[in-house]
Subunit: 226 residues, 2 copies
DNA sequence: TTACGAATCCGGACCGAGGTCCGCTTAATT
DNA sequence: AATTAAGCGGACCTCGGTCCGGATTCGTAA
């Protein structure tokens, strides 16, 4: 499983799902994993680094993923790690890359209700549940990969999620401020929040799931006729 | 203004607002600023540290607030800073303490619509707007004071806000899962989100404000009769 | 008021980890 | 083979956080 994680990041761009009828053109589904073409040694080192990082996580948890440790485990210089991934957050996000793309493929081109074909509200409900459980599975990594507050909402994977929610909302509530509503809905799915509610407050996932469905209902309920 | 910030933190506990009729007993409004009584030298150093930190912010921005710099500016050992505030986040939160307490006093015992006396929905609307503008004013500090994801929702000031929202919600929608709704509403007011929307997306505060009111409406709108 | 003991606090040396830098090496190109 | 752009590595810096021997403060009792 972790193998898939780092292997995927070495593969060419990303198998574009057959263009779904309502896929927004502005949503760049596959920002080339890296600068179009990596020099041979660079690509090799990148793969080794991701593999090493995954191994370290498996053995010592996310906390064990030190930039120096990763470099050492990959038998590579420290500078190389930073050159490739920018910073620790970048490395951890690269580890999540595979799962991000999978999710993205699912809601852009997968089967309903997540994918196109189902009514927008159903897709929205399914989307939240999917994100919820995905985050719950990789909570530690997701938390560790969270960038500093200033960049939290600016990274590509998050933007993709938000764009998708926005698009669905526009189909449901065209009159509303869909950007803001999307932001709100997305905030409900924040890994940090999930962590707090489940691990610190002891809520079961079922309750979070119900909460999402309820929230979607409330948010997409148009002004009752009067 | 910044003077008030650190001065307040030296003052005794906190002037309890006259007990409002609906103040939740569980909400500890004034967690004694520190262990009840500080040794004379400790208190003095604490004040000097907060003063030094405020000065550094004024001169070099939040980024200039290095633990060593603060210690040096306060003419105090580095260990003292950590002993008193735990970590950098603790120091920055202490700087926000005054404003936190002010806000808390306002919505617990101040005049309506923020304080008790107005209908819960109005209080909720006013609450959001107040938090919104307060965060906008101190954005840099708020962002810097944000603890790592694992503790983001666990610190006292945030808990106080959430408790208040929860209480208001319970008066409005007793049947709903008010904890989760409160969490969602609170997320809308997250400084990181405000930062992203205003500074990175260029939204004017008026739009955020309208978004809050709209969100409250949607969330508190009971199931339309059918 | 002074003496004294103990709890508290102070300070700065020390450590680890993230991030930068720059001279050297290596892969692609012609 | 020569040229050049990209990559590499590890020394180096900064900063947050820890630790512990020594100094201060404060309650208590003479």
């Amino acid at each position: 499983m972790l193998y898939a994680v780092f292997m995927s990041s070495v593969l060419p761009p990303f198998p574009q799902p057959q263009e779904p009828f309502d896929a927004p053109q502005l949503l760049e589904v596959g920002p080339a994993p890296q600068e179009p073409c990596l020099r041979a040694d660079a690509a090799r080192n990148r793969a080794r680094l991701l593999e090493a990082a995954a191994r370290l996580i498996a053995e010592h948890g996310v906390a064990g993923v030190t930039m120096e440790a990763v470099a050492a485990a990959a038998e590579v210089g420290k500078g190389t790690v930073f050159r490739r991934f920018g910073d620790r957050t970048g490395l951890l996000m690269a580890l999540l890359d595979h799962s991000s793309r999978q999710l993205q493929a699912d809601f852009l081109g997968g089967p309903p209700p997540l994918g196109p074909g189902a009514p927008p509200v159903d897709r929205l409900r399914a989307f939240g549940v999917a994100v919820l459980y995905r985050s719950a599975e990789q909570l530690d990594l997701q938390l560790a990969a969270q960038p500093e507050p200033t960049r939290r909402y600016a990274n590509p994977p998050i933007r993709a999620l938000r764009t998708h929610i926005t698009m669905l909302l526009r189909q449901i509530e065209p009159a509303a401020d869909c950007e803001l509503l999307a932001q709100t809905l997305l905030a409900y799915l924040d890994p940090a929040q999930i962590h707090h509610l489940t691990r610190q407050c002891g809520m079961p996932m079922e309750r979070l799931e119900a909460g999402w469905v309820d929230l979607v209902d409330r948010v997409t309920r148009t002004e009752p006729a009067r």
